[in-house]
């Protein structure tokens, strides 16, 4: 296709580039600038202070350290549960059974529900007296037990983890399941001829071939969880106290409750750096897989 005007290919992307520069690149630079200033919305003077906002956050701000800890905790526990469950379900679904297609479709519904609705549902489901989760637990256990779901730090974290697991395990399942379906059949057939049982095939033949997909899934979920915001705001409002306050929620509070823009942008810049590291790894895997 030599006839093309050399600029033609750029004309096609320029509108997109302008928007991306205007609303992603410029804001990042602006945030970097703000993060190096003592920026209080109430005070007119905004002196340049190098990295003092960053130092404050990392070394002195206990609420920031708490937010880091909470985010990391959600990250590790939630991903572990979802990966194990997703893998288990994918293996379960790899056999034949009745209504498989319909059941798989239904199982995808949670990821299409907006996180705000998930948070809202979790909030009313776990409320003592009126929520159905305490009721079902009482029925299953055949005795009245009281769990302070939303008023205790530990249980509030459990609620958030359960809500996220309800929504995103289907995602993990779906990806791994598609991965299993796309594997070549020959190694499995020959292993079966050699007398391997289903468990051995799953563990020694299927699982190693899934490692790319597992890594990609893990990274996508890790990135999403680093940004956890909607469900927290709807379900626990970071409470009780600040026991479920994630980084994103804390940055939101810093900026729009305390109007401390310097600290807020510094905190978001640190988050940006962490996420960029994860993202570049993820993109390597995605494109590596694409080119294989």
């Amino acid at each position: 296709m030599k006839d093309f005007n050399v600029y033609y290919k750029w004309y096609l992307v320029i509108p997109s580039i302008i928007l991306l520069l205007l609303l992603t690149v410029y804001p990042i630079l602006d945030a970097l600038y703000t993060s190096m200033h003592q920026y209080d919305a109430m005070i007119a003077e905004k002196p340049f202070i190098w990295f003092d906002n960053y130092k404050d956050l990392i070394f002195e701000d206990e609420r920031y350290q708490n937010a880091l800890y909470v985010t990391l905790l959600f990250e590790v526990i939630t991903i572990s549960i979802q990966m194990v469950l997703g893998l288990f379900l994918a293996f379960l679904f790899s056999g034949d059974f009745k209504f498989k297609k319909i059941i798989t479709s239904i199982y995808l519904v949670p990821m299409m529900v907006s996180p705000v609705v998930v948070g809202f549902t979790a909030r009313i489901a776990f409320t003592n007296d009126f929520g159905f989760v305490p009721q079902i637990i009482n029925i299953v256990l055949q005795e009245e037990i009281f769990i302070p779901w939303l008023s205790n730090g530990f249980w509030a974290k459990v609620v958030i983890i359960l809500a996220d697991t309800w929504q995103w395990t289907p995602f993990v399942f779906l990806i791994i399941f598609s991965g299993i379906m796309s594997l070549p059949i020959e190694p499995i057939e020959s292993a079966r001829v050699d007398g391997a049982n289903s468990w051995q095939i799953a563990l020694y033949i299927v699982l190693p071939q899934l490692r790319y997909i597992l890594l990609v899934t893990f990274l996508i979920r890790a990135l999403d969880l680093l940004k956890l915001f909607d469900v927290i705001l709807l379900t626990t409002r970071a409470g009780p106290g600040i026991q479920t306050e994630t980084i994103s929620v804390y940055i939101y509070n810093l900026a729009f409750k305390f109007w401390s823009m310097g600290n807020a942008t510094a905190a978001s810049f640190i988050l940006l750096i962490i996420i960029t590291i994860f993202t570049s790894t993820l993109i390597k895997f995605i494109t590596g897989y694409e080119n294989k």
Binding site: S16, L19, V109, V116, F256, I275
Partner: protein, 273 residues
């Protein structure tokens, strides 16, 4: 590929359990939308409304739900169309001419993963300087821009699979440069384009953070309206809230069923095909 019977005995039990756990919370929300106040604030909880009515729907609709729904519908539809209109030519350019090289494509994809909160603060300052807070224009700009990376990246992958020869043949037949895109490429994208459009629509429809920050309660969307219910002044209005939640999720779920063919590929950014 299939692995036979890993869990022969437990299998049906587990599958049914998972189905129940998946449906239960949604069923509860849908049922709550039809209960009266005595029923949705009853201890122990009552599952089935004795006299189902649309009272909650009417209350919700009159009390801000209508505005939220119209705002959401307008903003989401416009942003989705814009993202697709800008995204298709960009994806075509990246796929066919490798415009800007691989790193340019990776840069575009990486924007998809960056934390919205990091952009929300500077954008909110920028928008208040330009009087874009509480406007359709502001949110539409943000949503179009932040969904472009997804649209461009996924469609680039789909276009890569359409043979280049088709473009050449079309050109010999007298197709103009730009005509190739909408007369040849777009129809060939077919279901892939449908999936991308549907997912973009769902992402924008569900978006909460920007919608919350870039409004002072005049142009509020459905997610923002849902979160507003939890102010203490309102009290426990679970009936109307559930009604709003229900009408906000049912269309998304139906759309997802239509677009499910390429959903895995789109949601893994092309890593799994």
């Amino acid at each position: 590929m299939k692995i036979n019977n890993l869990f022969p005995v437990l299998r049906y039990f587990i599958i049914i359990l998972i189905l129940v756990l998946t449906i239960l919370p949604l069923a509860w929300i849908i049922l709550t939308g039809f209960k009266n106040e005595l029923e949705y604030l009853h201890t122990p909880p009552i599952w089935f409304p004795s006299d189902p009515s649309f009272d909650n729907y009417i209350e919700m609709w009159v009390d801000g739900g209508k505005d939220a729904f119209i705002n959401s519908l307008f903003i989401t539809t416009t942003s989705t169309i814009l993202a697709i209109l800008l995204g298709v030519p960009s994806a075509y350019s990246l796929s066919r001419f490798n415009t800007g090289g691989d790193n340019f494509a990776y840069w575009i994809l990486s924007i998809k993963f960056l934390p919205p909160i990091a952009f929300a603060i500077p954008i909110s300052i920028m928008f208040s300087n330009f009087n874009l807070i509480d406007t359709y224009t502001g949110l539409i700009l943000v949503y179009t821009t932040f969904n472009l990376p997804f649209v461009i990246w996924i469609l680039r992958g789909f276009i890569n699979e359409i043979p280049k020869d088709i473009d050449d043949a079309a050109m010999i037949d007298g197709c103009g440069n730009f005509q190739i895109i909408y007369k040849i490429t777009v129809p060939l994208l077919g279901p892939g384009l449908v999936t991308v459009t549907i997912l973009t629509f769902i992402f924008i429809w569900s978006e909460f953070l920007f919608a919350l920050i870039l409004n002072n309660s005049e142009i509020y969307t459905v997610p923002v309206r849902l979160s507003m219910y939890f102010s203490e002044a309102v009290g426990l209005k679970w009936g109307p809230q559930s009604a709003l939640a229900t009408i906000s999720i049912i269309p998304m779920i139906l759309m997802a069923f239509i677009g499910q063919n390429y959903i895995v590929r789109a949601l893994t950014f092309g890593a799994v095909k």
